[in-house]
Amino acid sequence: MSIWEYANPRRFMGWTGRLVPVFAILAAACISVGIIWGYFFTPDDFRMGATVKIIYIHVPSATMAINAWGMMLITSLVWLIRRHHVSVLAAKAAAPIGLVMTLIALITGAIWGQPMWGTWWVWDPRLTSFLILFIFYLGYLALWQAIDNPDTAADLTSVLCLVGSVFALLSRYAVNFWNQGLHQGASLSLDKEEHVSDVFWQPLVLTLVGFVLLFIALVLIRTRTEIRARRLHALETRERMA
């Protein structure tokens, strides 16, 4: 019994079918409690006022936008190395979610930036690299759509994902070189004690966990859809042959 057996499509459909509702309910609970807590039971920031509250959506969605690409990178590698179809379908399923997360991060950032920085958009390194990430997601999705043969599409998009990861990282540090930033430093990291005051930090962690669960639930649902679509396609082909 190895971990790979869970990736067998039939088994995958079995255990994900039971887990999706659990993840979905937990995600809904975490996000709603976190947002209500953050919106109504935390004080206004002394400099930013009420606008600080957008952090409960902005930071989790930005985190997931990056981690979604990371997940796609891992599942693409698994596909290239071990040829598990479910793996590459999960990458395909994650891409639109990552795209939307990137968009949410960009839009909430713009809404926050307008009153705080006095502008919707600046060519700040972080903002710019998010825009570039957005274009990477677009290209990845466009390549999936353009190719008819599913295995060819899976191979090519996986290669693109690997190369894209290298260049996305390069761009991330190249833009630092290109322009000085307006964006504040990291809100969360493992090496420092405290970036955000505890009052804001606790609901933020809750919404972060909620977004992670939401992402997992959505990816599982979309992967299940992809598997069903694949089966339907196989059935139709068989029908036509007969």
Binding site: T152, V163, F167, A174, V175, F177
Partner: protein
């Protein structure tokens, strides 16, 4: 491999549109910029390095789909795949041929177009140097994009969408070097970074591109 290079160069020159098209496109872009931003030559000298880099990049992009498409359609790519040289080398030679027919002439022509945009005196050397170092990276990254889209019927637009974000780091360091040169600042750091990207791209991307071509020929 040398024969393949010579063959590609000959095809590019005789089929027309090899040297000429990219250069004319570069010229048109350069000519259109003053219409877009107005005739203020002070402004031109500020934006000249960036515009010239952008023009060169777009002109490079224009001829990317020719790298593999024609060979794919007439079957010579299948022959190359079964030939006793590795696919990685084929990619490298094709990218080199693309650079010789697009990147190199663009680099050499850039100072002439720099005159139109009132590029500051000290900027010419650094513009040429940065283009000479950076355009090989454009060709090899473009070859990777062309390898991904070679089997598609309407690959041109998709190719641009895939390749342009990959061009970001090259573009940043290239224009930075050219801009610093034009303003008389130190240029070594961006040039070294640019050279690093080019070297890394030449070292890694032939493998990725060859893998993509093998998938497309399956």
């Amino acid at each position: 491999m040398i024969r393949l290079l010579v063959r590609d160069l000959r095809l590019a020159m005789r089929a027309g549109g090899g040297f000429g098209l990219g250069l004319s496109f570069f010229l048109v872009v350069t000519v259109l910029v003053p219409f877009g931003v107005g005739p203020d030559s002070g402004l031109h000298s500020v934006i000249a390095p960036g515009i010239l880099w952008l023009g060169a990049l777009l002109a490079c992009l224009l001829s990317l789909d020719r790298i593999f498409q024609l060979d794919y359609e007439d079957g010579s790519l299948d022959l190359l795949a079964t030939a006793p040289i590795p696919m990685e080398n084929v990619v490298l030679v094709k990218a080199l041929a693309h650079w010789l027919t697009s990147g190199l002439p663009l680099t050499l022509a850039a100072p002439v177009f720099g005159v139109f945009l009132n590029l500051p005196q000290g900027g010419y050397v650094w513009l040429v140097v940065s283009l000479a170092i950076g355009t090989p990276a454009l060709s090899i990254i473009g070859a990777f994009g062309a390898a991904l889209t070679v089997g598609l019927k309407r690959g041109g637009l998709l190719l641009s969408l895939l390749v342009l974000p990959l061009y970001v780091p090259t573009m940043i360091f290239g224009t930075e070097a050219a801009r610093r040169g034009a303003e008389g600042l130190e240029t070594m750091t961006p040039l070294l970074m640019l050279a690093g990207i080019t070297a890394g791209a030449i070292a890694m991307l032939p493998f990725a591109a060859a893998a993509a071509i093998r998938v497309n020929l399956r």
